[in-house]
């Protein structure tokens, strides 16, 4: 399938800070592509450049075969956006909200009413069409935001952390809607800091950290980065962590990573039997084990493997570096 979005050597700097560092990737028409990374990794900056809200410091973006820099208007017609803070106009009714954007997207006058009506049905808001959006629940507002983003029938839907802050039920409803839109042919680019979301939804994904693309592929391809075997996870008291790490190294030849009390190491396929011996060894050494287990590699393991830190840790560290649109 054709590449509907093509990003070449994209870089964006804010003063000395490089928010996006030489990223290249392609998104195929009809796929769900996930951009995964902690807060401040550069996901939103990338999205904002796709939306022409930010001008790249260097690099090129092609949307549906056209270079973005020279075809802002055309590209904007092709893309819809919903963000985590997607703002509906609180003082306007559901109908007025959609009517406003029908005008802003230059949807032909004749079609407007029909599209708005369909959108309200789609969002399950027909009965609330004349109620102010500000009185809606969070889930209703997001539904309205989503149909508003789809009003001009874009080929590409950009979802910037679409489920951040939603409860479990609303999240799974949102996932269902995203899949439905995708089935109808919409290419979806979503950013997320939830590993399970990327794993669950995406056909392909890219992991981004400190502005760099550090992994790219299908979820299973990416997970293989963590190793073809299983992940050993041991939790011990803090004072024992270093001892356990060195024991794993000397006795089993394992490269273990420690984060506070949690130690992880990859057991390659042929070494999975060693789980029992490791467990026995810890008992012999009289090290109190809080928990021990084996699991299939997750994206978190990939992230740890690639960056040496977990997603949550990285997200805490980078909290201050979050870049939205910069207002000087």
């Amino acid at each position: 399938m054709a590449d509907i979005i093509k990003i070449e050597n994209l870089t964006r700097k804010f003063g000395d800070f490089t928010a996006v560092n030489n990223i290249s990737l392609s998104i195929k028409e009809g796929e769900i592509f996930g951009l995964l990374g902690p807060n401040g990794a550069g996901k939103t900056t990338t999205i904002n450049m796709l939306l022409t809200l930010l001008i790249p410091t260097s690099g090129k973006i092609y949307i549906d075969g056209f270079e973005l820099a020279e075809n802002h208007e055309r590209a904007k017609q092709l893309m819809g956006l919903m963000t985590q803070e997607t703002v509906v106009e609180a003082d306007l009714t559901a109908w007025q909200n959609l009517d406003l954007f029908a005008h802003l997207y230059h949807i032909p006058e004749k079609e407007q009413a029909k599209r708005i009506y369909e959108a309200l049905q789609e969002a399950d808001l027909t009965n609330f069409r004349d109620k102010k959006a500000g009185t809606f629940s969070g889930g209703m507002q997001r539904r309205l935001g989503l149909v508003r983003a789809m009003l001009q029938e874009p080929k590409i839907l950009l979802l910037d952390e679409p489920t951040t802050g939603l409860d479990v039920q609303n999240r799974s409803t949102m996932w269902t809607r995203i899949r439905e839109l995708n089935k109808k042919g919409t290419t979806i680019l979503l950013t997320t800091q939830y590993l399970e979301e990327a794993d669950e939804l995406c056909d392909r994904l890219g992991i981004i950290d400190h502005g760099k693309l550090i992994a790219l592929g299908t979820p299973s391809e990416v997970k293989r980065i963590a190793g073809s075997g299983k992940v050993l996870e041991i939790t011990v008291n803090l004072q024992d962590v270093q001892k356990v790490v060195s024991l794993l190294k000397t006795k089993f030849g394992l490269n273990a990573t420690a984060r506070t009390e949690k130690i992880t190491a990859v057991l390659e396929k042929d070494k999975e039997d060693e789980f029992a011996s490791i467990s026995a060894m810890l008992e012999r050494q009289k090290i109190p084990v809080l928990s021990i287990g084996l699991h299939l590699p997750t994206l978190d393991d990939v992230f740890i493997k690639l960056t040496g830190a977990g997603m949550r840790d990285a997200s805490g560290e980078m909290q201050g570096g979050r870049t939205n649109i910069r207002w000087r």
Binding site: K76, V87, L92
Partner: protein, 374 residues
């Protein structure tokens, strides 16, 4: 074409937000002018029984009638004095605030005025109230040019009446003067505060980002907001006019005057919206904008002569008032409200300056707004 359509879309959005909060907006627009018009107009309205000395050299039927006309109102407390020097010494001593000398020629006017008024200007508002009243009474008996007044300083000799300037100040009272000032004030409040705070809220809330990802013309966001401010000013000014008329103020020029006021008001609203968006583009938060509003917005109104006439200001403030667009709008309002006329020279100056201001502030606002979107 698309710029106009986009601007109208944004305008409709602003209007829908305004209409969604109509009751709050009416109350907010009405309360402040109401309070100011009620309390501040006492500055003029409360004046009564001002002591006035009258020297009657004419001693004819008309002069006696003039004196009884002057005494008929509560405004003045008339004391008959036999000669001018005695009356002026009473003025110097502060026993009276005005001396009215009715010259022997009264009521005819043989090339020079036949009523000479001396006053001290200790209380601005008293002077503004009483002088026009005396002038009005004198005009009942002959041509307006019969009346001449000058400020009397105790140390200075009484100057030749022929070189002193005839009064040209407001024909209405202070409450009408304030009324036209409050019309200007409401525009500052609705446009200067409204547009900037609205833009900041939209920016912080992400609404502007939502607009920018649509294929609309970026200038349309500002033009739409400006258009809304202009229309909103019609609403605000109407409310103030209704309140003013209910409180007994009048617009000398009538319906045509209201049309003029609305026209000037819209121009002023465009200027204020421009200034407001320029400042909001450079500010990061609401608190900073409110500091701006208090330190710049209110002085803009004061300096333009909203509460006191510009002529009573020290030279430095008068100089600043020249670059305050509001000065020109208020000047226009005053002619219409107080004089009932709108002289051609004033039309050209006031409308011309306001148009230039409006064009420049809007252009700069659009440029700055665009530059904040990297």
């Amino acid at each position: 074409m698309s710029l106009l359509e986009d601007s109208i879309s944004i305008y409709k959005r602003e209007m829908a937000i305004f209409m969604a909060n109509l009751r709050t907006n009416v109350i907010r627009t009405a309360m402040f002018p109401l309070v100011i018009l009620i309390f501040f107009s006492f500055l003029g309205a409360a004046i009564s029984n001002v002591p006035v000395a009258v020297v009657n050299y004419a001693n004819n039927q008309q002069s006696t009638q003039l004196i009884s006309t002057l005494s008929a109102q509560n405004l003045m407390q008339v004391k008959a004095v036999t000669n001018q020097n005695q009356a002026l010494s009473m003025l110097s001593a502060g026993q009276v605030n005005f001396v009215i000398v009715i010259l022997p020629t009264f009521p005819s006017n043989n090339g020079s005025p036949s009523v000479q008024v001396y006053y001290n200007n200790i209380e601005y508002s008293t002077t503004a109230e009483v002088l026009p009243a005396i002038q009005g009474d004198v005009a009942l008996f002959g041509p307006k040019s019969n009346f001449q007044s000058e400020e009397y300083l105790p140390s200075a000799p009484v100057s030749d009446p022929s070189v002193s300037t005839p009064i040209t100040s407001a024909s209405g009272g202070y409450d009408d003067f304030l009324f036209s000032g409050v019309i200007g004030m409401i525009i500052v409040f609705s446009s200067l505060f409204g547009a900037g705070i609205g833009t900041l809220t939209d920016r912080q809330g992400g609404n502007i980002k939502a607009f920018l990802i649509t294929p609309i013309n970026k200038s349309a966001i500002i033009l739409g907001k400006t258009l809304f401010s202009a229309v909103q000013s019609i609403f605000s000014v109407f409310i103030v006019i209704i309140i003013g008329i209910l409180l007994g103020n009048s617009i000398e020029m009538g319906v045509l005057g209201i049309v003029w006021i609305l026209f000037l008001g819209m121009l002023l609203a465009v200027c204020m919206t421009g200034i407001s968006i320029i400042v909001a583009s450079r500010m990061k938060n609401m608190q900073a904008f409110q500091i701006f509003g208090q330190t710049i917005g209110l002085p803009l109104w004061f300096i333009s002569g909203g509460i006191f006439p510009v002529t009573s200001f020290p030279p430095i403030l008068q100089a600043i008032s020249v670059v305050d667009p509001m000065t020109y709008a208020l000047n226009g309002f005053r002619f219409v409200v107080l004089e009932g006329v709108f002289p051609l020279a004033s039309i050209i100056t006031d409308v011309g300056v306001l148009c230039i201001f409006a064009a420049v502030t809007t252009a700069v606002a659009i440029a700055l707004f665009k530059s904040t979107i990297d």
